[in-house]
């Protein structure tokens, strides 16, 4: 698998292999002392049958690239990866994968954390979940919690 450098940013319409992506990122950064990563998956929930993610093409990929670019500016990174699913997902499937390679561990950790916080509440995705089944079933929109906004805002403090 060939990744773009220094940032590999993707919106994916289909499922992907976390192991394969991380193996490629790891192999692509042999000189980096540390690689941090995070994968977010659909949690199983008796009530929730599916999760649907939509985006707005003219904004979403440029917005993700901007987030990755800000991470590259803010920390000394060898590379960063930010992948996000769209479409309909079911329990256990990966929604988001972020990885950062750096000389120093703290930079790799913080950059991953930063990108996740921004994808969560400052990237152009909309998420809804299908709860229940049959005539009682329905779609419910998910909005970030206050804690998600707070998590993002902590990066703005000096």
């Amino acid at each position: 698998m060939k990744l773009s450098a220094p940032a590999d940013v993707r919106i994916l319409e289909n499922g992907f292999s976390v192991g394969e992506a991380l193996a490629a990122f790891n192999a692509g950064h042999p000189v980096s002392g540390g690689i941090a990563s995070f994968v977010g998956k659909v949690r199983p929930d008796g009530e929730v049958k599916a999760l649907e993610l939509t985006h707005y093409a003219p904004l979403t990929l440029p917005g993700m690239e901007d987030i990755a670019g800000r991470a590259l500016e803010r920390w000394q990174l060898d590379g960063i990866l930010a992948w996000h699913r769209i479409g309909t997902l079911t329990s256990g499937q990966p929604i988001v994968l972020v990885a950062a390679a750096a000389r120093h561990r703290r930079a790799a950790f913080d950059a991953t954390d930063f990108v996740m916080d921004h994808l969560k509440s400052a990237a152009w995705f909309w998420k809804r979940e299908r709860r229940g089944s049959g005539p009682n079933g329905g779609w419910h929109w998910i909005t970030p919690h206050d804690a998600d906004y707070a998590a993002r805002n902590r990066w703005d403090s000096p």
Binding site: P58, S121, W124, P144
Partner: protein, 86 residues
């Protein structure tokens, strides 16, 4: 024609992902847009869009202040409720 794109829950309220309107005047501003949606779509949609949390993009650029909207024939307006990714 002006294309209007409804994202997230706004698409539910609109009952569709996008609409096209012939611009009645040279350009339409934010107040014109709300009036247009109220008359041609529905009040729930127009009310939801009034919420401060809804942002507006014109031709793929988010407006810093949506009240500065000025759209003409051929433009695409996107109505963006609060996001949630990750």
């Amino acid at each position: 024609m002006i294309r209007i794109v409804y994202l997230g829950m706004l698409a539910d309220l609109a009952g569709r992902g996008e609409s096209e309107f012939g611009a009645t005047t040279e350009e339409i501003d934010w107040a014109d847009l709300l009036a247009l949606l109220e008359s041609h779509m529905n009040r729930h949609l127009a009310d939801a869009i009034r919420a401060d949390t809804v942002k507006v993009a014109l031709n793929g650029k988010v407006l810093l202040d949506r009240e500065d909207l000025s759209a003409k024939h051929g433009d695409e307006i996107a109505l963006l409720p609060p996001v949630s990714g990750g």
